[in-house]
Symmetry: C2
Subunit: 449 residues, 2 copies
């Protein structure tokens, strides 16, 4: 069989894995070129691969400080990788195909359906068109506001900062260029008391994390006059998680002199808000995470694991997955066979999928944490935090990333990759599909629990 | 309504929760009496409640060293609490009812079915009879072997040690009386190189953790000539987890001078075997857990969470729950709708139950760990280890238990209780059952993952 036909026989999950891997490799090669860096001669290929993976998977974990290490060329490469990774490489490919007037075939629609976790084939090309419009709209607005704030302070460089951070925020990437101004790895801590920067970035990554399906529905509300169950669940869950995150940080950290305790009331409230929403899964920070109490760090781990909403730029197991499981457990406790919410029944197949995604994700995080505790000498809890951050494509860190060993870097690279695509997509891509046998085995019930 | 009729209206999960709680409270009152302790005047009620809960839930976590704190009266109370808790209070009640020639009614059978996680009502009274025989048999054999080893060393006290440790081991309780001889909290570390003690205890808790359903099937094999799917799954999973546990500890700890590295080849192999099987869920240790590498401690956390097999004296989510989930995820990855193993199909309801039990257990462990990181100043990872140990009724500790705050003790008490009964039983007992509505809501599919 010719290579082309072989490629044609790849399943949608395999295409996605290969596509993302290709984009990452191209990025890694570009970032390892001498012109990509300033100061240092050139990045090791491992570090370049790590940075490219972190950008394409919109994670934001960094082994080297972005601003002080990379040249403008390198930074622009990172920005483009973030945009391609955030929109999704299939969305990007489809957009260019549409621009060139090409037809999007059934096969491409199937891959898009897989890429954006859609339940149906219909409207998936329309979704891509809307996505591009939404990206342009919100990144444009973000750019204008940040430019208005930063051009007076940094001059022309402020325009560049505005563009980079608007893209980084809306794609939930968490990359920043503030190392030049306020010290390496400072993230957004310099703007903890700046409402324009804080709230603009937070708005961008919250909207980016809501998911395009919801955003499209919002735009179409005046015609449709109703919201889908999906949109209602995303809204309620996002709101609840925000309240839990912000409230939890406020309550726990209020007396911590190294975090909220050092700030005035208004700044503390704003910082708590920012840190409460950033684990889902933006990755910027305005407070020093390492100075937080362990209880707060634990809360952030939970929020990072849950992550953003489906078909968004964010990661994690997703808000709807989380709420579907809660509803299923609650239903079982109440003795109700159906999982009912908002007067709609969520089919058991969806619950089953939610549980499988969660279990596979936990397995991935657990195995990766275990391997990293072997390869790294860092504190176990910090390593666990790092793994969940990588899996959820969040990018928050308690300081483990820059100290990672060579093997550790590859483990985190794999975790980011698996986290962006989803462990089930990776598994589908690798596993050989079974041919369904023509008979069914007899049933037998083992004891459970 | 009269109180008797009110009691009669309690559901089986409510009876189990109240029954276990009553036994614990009686134990706590007895252990707080001045005659229960030696040296100290009397135990605080919190410490007595903690010890009673730990004994009834066959956990083995101790806030005070058992041998040096309690009088012989106190130790015998603990031994009885372990026996009642290990057999299960309903099994105990049923056994006495049978002894007194009483009829076991439909209602009691229903509660027994719930208590031992049986799928069917039939044979549940027969199971209790077998259980009592099995307890007497194995605890008797254990007693004889340990007596032969300990009477020469400790004289008459060796008989008492043999009885206590045989009961503690077969019930997977993890309580020991070696503090008198080898220092408080020393557990079985003095016997790391003693094959008779090590292997007898390990055999007792492995057999106790296999589950009575499997043991009964083994005894009946010469008539039945076949094993159920349940028994096959328990055997394969127990074997695999033993290989993973023992092998993992051997490989990781081989070079650790504070654990295996200090021992000769034979002793090291025996110690690795003992520590590899004790997390499921015996709780004795022959090596210093705190001296182990974090990777080993992490592996032990996993094994403790999975725990023993259903209808056994052990805790955790259970081996069959774990393997059912693995099979379900594997099946989904391979694109197979049915979950098939050993040429049998596990019904989706069972998989669903396994996933719900696991998710509820993870939620419990997560919430308790978070609360404990707030109340305790100990290392977060050590607190996490402690919580999983309490949930899995294991009893291993990295040293957190004796340092627990007053609130922390109550949190661990609740975790042990919920771990022994299962989080779903607690939820069933507390939640109000919903009356099934006469209609079904329309179906709608949110995006998942
Ligand atoms: K991120
Ligand atoms: K135990």
């Amino acid at each position: 069989m010719s290579p082309t036909r072989q490629l044609f026989r790849l399943t949608p999950p395999q295409i996605l894995v290969l596509g993302f891997a290709t984009v990452i490799l191209i990025g890694a090669v570009l970032l390892s070129l001498p012109i990509a860096t300033e100061g240092v001669a050139a990045l090791s290929f491992t570090d370049a691969l790590f940075t490219a993976t972190s950008a394409v998977c919109v994670t934001g974990l960094v082994v080297v400080d972005t601003a002080t290490t990379f040249s403008t060329f390198g930074e622009v490469v990172i920005m483009i990788l973030i945009q391609v990774g955030g929109l999704g490489f299939m969305g990007f490919a489809t957009f260019f195909a549409l621009l060139l007037g090409k037809r999007v075939g059934m096969r491409e629609r199937l891959i898009l359906t897989e890429a954006y976790n859609q339940n149906r084939l219909g409207g998936v090309v329309q979704l891509v068109k809307y996505m591009v419009i939404i990206f342009a709209l919100f990144e444009g607005i973000g750019f204008l506001i940040l430019a208005a704030r930063w051009v007076p302070e940094f001059g022309l460089k402020g325009l560049y900062y505005a563009l980079f951070h608007s893209i980084s925020a809306f794609n939930n990437a968490g990359f920043d260029l503030m190392g030049d101004q306020f010290g390496p790895f400072s993230s957004m801590t310099a703007f903890v008391g700046d409402p324009i920067v804080s709230l603009t970035l937070a708005s961008l990554f919250i909207i980016g994390g809501i998911g395009f399906v919801v955003l499209v529905e919002l735009f179409q509300y005046r015609y449709a006059r109703r919201f889908s169950l999906h949109t209602k669940l995303v809204f309620v869950t996002t709101l609840c998680l925000t309240v839990v995150g912000v409230g939890g940080i406020l309550v726990i950290e209020w007396g911590n002199a190294d975090t909220l305790g050092a700030l005035g009331f208004g700044d503390a409230a704003m910082a708590a808000f920012f840190q409460g929403v950033t684990p889902r899964t933006a990755g910027f920070n305005t407070l020093d995470l390492a100075a937080m109490y362990p209880a707060t760090q634990f809360l952030i781990i939970l929020l990072m694991f849950i992550g953003a909403s489906p078909s968004s730029t964010g990661g994690g197991i997703k808000t709807t997955t989380f709420v579907a499981i809660l509803l299923a457990v609650w239903g079982m406790v109440r003795g109700h066979d159906d999982v009912v919410t908002f007067r709609r029944r969520i089919p058991h197949g969806q619950i089953y999928k939610a549980l499988t995604v969660s279990v596979a994700s936990m397995a991935l995080v657990t195995i990766m944490t275990m391997l990293l505790t072997i390869t790294e000498s860092s504190d176990v809890f910090h390593v666990f935090f790092e793994t969940v951050s990588a899996f959820g494509t969040v990018g928050l860190s308690l300081g483990v990333t820059p100290e990672l060993s060579e093997t550790g870097k590859f483990l985190v690279i794999f975790t980011m990759f698996a986290g962006r695509l989803g462990p089930m997509t990776i598994a589908f891509a690798v596993a050989k599909r079974m041919v369904k046998p023509p008979y069914r085995h007899p049933e037998e019930r083992p004891l459970i629990g």
